[in-house]
């Protein structure tokens, strides 16, 4: 019998079947990948294992014994640890305080931090880590915080670790370091379940994988049996997927977006953007690489008029639009696919149809003399929804009721339909399946070929490399360098994302 066996797990939420008769077998000492698209049921399955959900039916065996997991406390006791995608750390507390939080094995009332710190240091030594127990968590790098999360689980004597998309927030170098750390853990007999949708990570790190699609486990295989990326992708999506990105060389035209010495200091007096200067030309895609939170969202907000620069200027087609209102900027033929679709891209309580005219309701062909032409609006939107394969019962469905992927699709349909001069796309493929991602990417390339200037912000380096003509790296609000895609090396970009190796001007 395998170390962990989940038998015929079914979980339903009302009429929705999130897990349908799923089997999972994980061997001791293995790194086992759980691969699948958003909404395939990976998180549901792991939340069942960690006690956050109760399965509708099915059994779980750990180390040969049947276990009933009532809540996360039970799971922790059974030796199961989970590292969430968003770190569960308290930044204002010290490392050791975070480690002992809720852990009462050493003492029940008084905190014995010195004793805990000794135990923590031994643990660090064992796995070749060097995190000071007395440092405040907010002073740790993202990579260190993540390894702290793992150490926190190990401190509670976890034997089985669940890692949920752990590389989403890491630079390539930090990812390499994490993988080294994980391998070391398995050498000490730990077992790891690795949730991901990145095929490369599965191939380079894992021993075995289970692929989930629409709530069912569609395949279990050893990584050595996998023939190609496209085989895995096809199993994930359920049909053949072309993973290639087709992009021809193109000579860019005149400059459309021009940023000159742009700086922004927020209301707390923190410099979020410092002296950013670059341009995006007609017929080119400029990718902004960087770990989330290094000034990307401020940059985009400054360009689209949602924030006002502290100094410097923004020019669109030669017009100074620094400090202009968002509506005035949109009038300069700018399309914006925002980072957070719920907060910025759509009104959840309005219909899809209404949402799709939010930017253009006040001019023809949508309205005349201030009167909306609903017939025409519906026609146009219906066609757009068909082209972009927005799955909705009707365009009169409330936007909030659509799945995340479909919401993203109609937002992209709305933005790319306007034949804009400048397209600002922030995480355009967030939450989309591989097939749709590829479609959106090829649409962005078409827009570029049409002559649009595209500014692409993404935290997926693969996406940046596939689409961009030039790559700019943001670190702590500064542009570390701008490199042509052909000359760019992943290592160098990765180092710049970590703030090392700034280019000379």
């Amino acid at each position: 019998m395998a170390y962990l066996e989940m038998h015929a797990i079914t979980k339903t939420f009302g009429s929705l079947v999130a897990n349908d008769n799923v089997d999972l077998k994980v061997e001791k000492g293995h790194i086992h990948a759980l691969l699948g698209e958003n909404g395939a049921g990976k998180s549901t399955l792991m939340n069942i294992l960690y006690g956050l959900y109760k399965p509708t039916s099915g059994e779980i065996f750990l180390d040969g014994e049947k276990i009933e997991i009532q809540d996360s406390k039970h799971a922790i006791k059974a030796g199961i640890g989970m590292v969430h995608q968003h770190f569960m750390l308290i930044p204002t507390l010290s490392v050791i305080e975070n480690v002992v939080l809720g852990y009462k094995e050493i003492s029940r009332f008084r905190l014995h931090l010195d004793e805990a710190a000794r135990k923590f240091n031994l643990l660090c030594e064992k796995f070749g880590e060097s995190i000071s127990p007395w440092e405040k968590v907010e002073n740790l790098s993202i990579g260190e915080q993540q390894r702290l999360e793992i150490l926190k689980a190990l401190f509670r004597e976890s034997e089985l670790l669940i890692l949920d998309e752990p590389t989403a927030v890491l630079t390539p170098q930090e990812t390499t370091k994490l993988f080294g750390f994980l391998t070391k853990l398995t050498e000490h007999g730990l077992t790891i379940i690795f949730i991901t949708h990145k095929l490369g990570e599965v191939m380079s790190l894992c021993d075995r994988c289970t692929i989930l699609r629409q709530g069912k486990a569609v395949s279990h295989m050893d990584i050595s049996e996998v023939e190609s990326y496209s085989q895995l992708a096809a199993l994930m999506v359920g049909r053949e997927v072309d993973l290639e990105t087709y992009k021809t060389d193109k000579t860019p035209g005149e400059s459309v977006l021009e940023l000159e010495d742009l700086s922004y200091t927020n209301e707390k007096g923190i410099d979020r953007l410092a002296h950013v200067s670059f341009s995006v030309r007609s017929g080119e895609i400029v990718g902004i690489a960087g770990v989330d939170g290094n000034g990307q969202s401020e940059l985009v907000r400054l360009i689209t008029g949602l924030l006002h620069a502290t100094s410097g200027s923004v020019l669109i087609d030669g017009c100074d639009v620094t400090g202009a209102k968002p509506k005035e900027i949109l009038a300069h033929s700018v399309a914006h696919i925002p980072e957070d679709r719920h907060k910025m891209a759509m009104v959840s309580d309005m219909t899809v149809n209404e949402n799709m005219i939010l930017m253009s309701y006040d001019h023809s062909p949508y309205s005349k003399h201030g009167i909306l032409d609903w017939k025409k609006i519906e026609d146009i939107n219906q066609k757009l929804c068909n082209t972009y394969e927005v799955k909705t019962p009707s365009i009169h469905e409330t936007a909030g009721k659509l799945s995340g992927g479909n919401q993203q699709k109609f937002v992209i349909a709305r933005e790319l339909n306007r034949n804009s001069r400048l397209i600002v796309a922030v995480y355009p493929a967030r939450g989309l399946d591989i097939g749709t991602t590829k479609y959106i990417q090829s649409r962005l390339i078409e827009e570029r070929d049409r002559g649009a200037a595209v500014l692409l912000v993404s935290n997926e380096l693969d996406e940046i490399f596939q689409l961009s003509d030039r790559i700019a790296v943001l670190y702590k609000g500064e542009v570390m360098g701008i490199v042509g895609q052909k000359e760019a090396k992943r290592d160098a970009i990765g180092l710049m994302m970590a703030g090392i190796g700034k280019q000379k001007d």
């Binding site: 969430h84 968003h86 770190f87 204002t92």
Partner: protein
């Protein structure tokens, strides 16, 4: 001169005591992420219940106990709506204040029928030898509640920094979801901190009606609850910070009385403003430097 200084000290301490007691309760609830403007209403409720309890039982001690227990029950209303019903804390807090003002007026007229009967208040407790000290001797001629307030300061500080309980409160205030994943109940933590803060603010209110004066008058808290909120901000959310901050307010209020008596020519209306001006400066000026818990005021909805 010595006489004046001595009585100034005494009135400072007496003015600071209710702020200190309420503020210590807030150290728990505020650090757990609760913004409770209803504290004003809690204190008002406690002030009435203390008097009523003392009137019924004839004992100040029982009066205080009744104030503590009944205000704790009263605070459960706030806890239920903000924690279990995810209601906005500021809105519920405002509602609590309106409710308290109405309830105390009604109960006051029902219980005392418009009369001001003699009730037993907190008697001062003289500590041998220490009370004989020059100038500061008067500090050892205060009531039991007053001593209790000062003794509680190191106790609260210890619990917050050195025990699991305190760490859990801090964690819940900073990152409720993270606390949840390590098996800490966010709901329960917030419930007990609110109940505790309710109990202490009830005592603080009772001190005002039974320690400072010997009767209940409608609306008698007149902003001391808000001042307790300012105290916690000025005190940087720590027990010792709250001690210093409430003493500063105490000085402000004592000074105001003193200056009124001295007939300085300054209109008394200006002088009565003094403690409130300190509140304003504290909240606006200092607030930018001290950092409250990250989840302050946000209801926690478990997925």
């Amino acid at each position: 001169m010595i006489e004046t200084l001595s009585s100034f000290l005494s009135s400072t301490v007496r003015m600071a005591t209710p702020l200190l007691i309420a503020g210590l309760g807030l150290v728990f609830s505020a650090n757990a992420g609760i913004v409770n403007i209803g504290i004003e209403g809690f204190m008002l409720f406690g002030a009435l219940m203390g008097c009523a309890g003392s009137y019924w039982t004839g004992s100040a001690l029982f009066g205080a106990l009744i104030a503590i227990l009944s205000t704790m029950l009263f605070s459960a209303i706030f806890a239920y709506f903000t924690i279990n019903q995810y209601a906005d804390q500021t809105v519920v807090g405002a509602a609590i204040n309106i409710l308290a003002s109405g309830i105390t007026i009604t109960l006051n007229r029902l219980v005392f029928e418009g009369k001001v009967p003699a009730i037993s208040g907190f008697e001062s407790l003289h500590i041998p030898f220490l009370e004989k000290l020059p100038i500061i001797g008067i500090l050892f001629q205060q009531s039991l509640v007053c001593y209790l307030a000062f003794v509680l300061v190191p106790v609260v500080a210890y619990v917050m920094r050195k025990t699991h309980l305190g760490l859990q409160v801090l964690a819940v205030g900073e990152n409720p979801r993270a606390s949840d994943t390590v098996g800490i109940s966010v709901k329960w933590t917030r419930w007990w901190t609110i109940l505790l803060s309710g109990a202490l603010s009830g005592l603080a209110g009772a001190f005002m009606s039974m320690g400072q004066v010997r009767f209940f008058s409608e609306g008698m808290i007149s902003g001391k609850g808000y001042m307790a909120l300012a105290v916690i901000v000025l005190g940087g959310y720590t027990a010792f910070g709250v001690l210093w901050a409430s003493l500063i307010f105490g000085v402000g209020m004592a000074l105001q009385f003193r200056l009124q008596v001295l007939n300085t020519g300054i209109p008394y209306q200006i002088l009565t403003m003094l403690p409130y001006v300190i509140t304003l400066v504290a909240v606006c000026g200092v607030n930018s430097k001290t950092r409250g818990p990250a989840s302050s005021g946000e209801p926690y909805i478990k997925e």
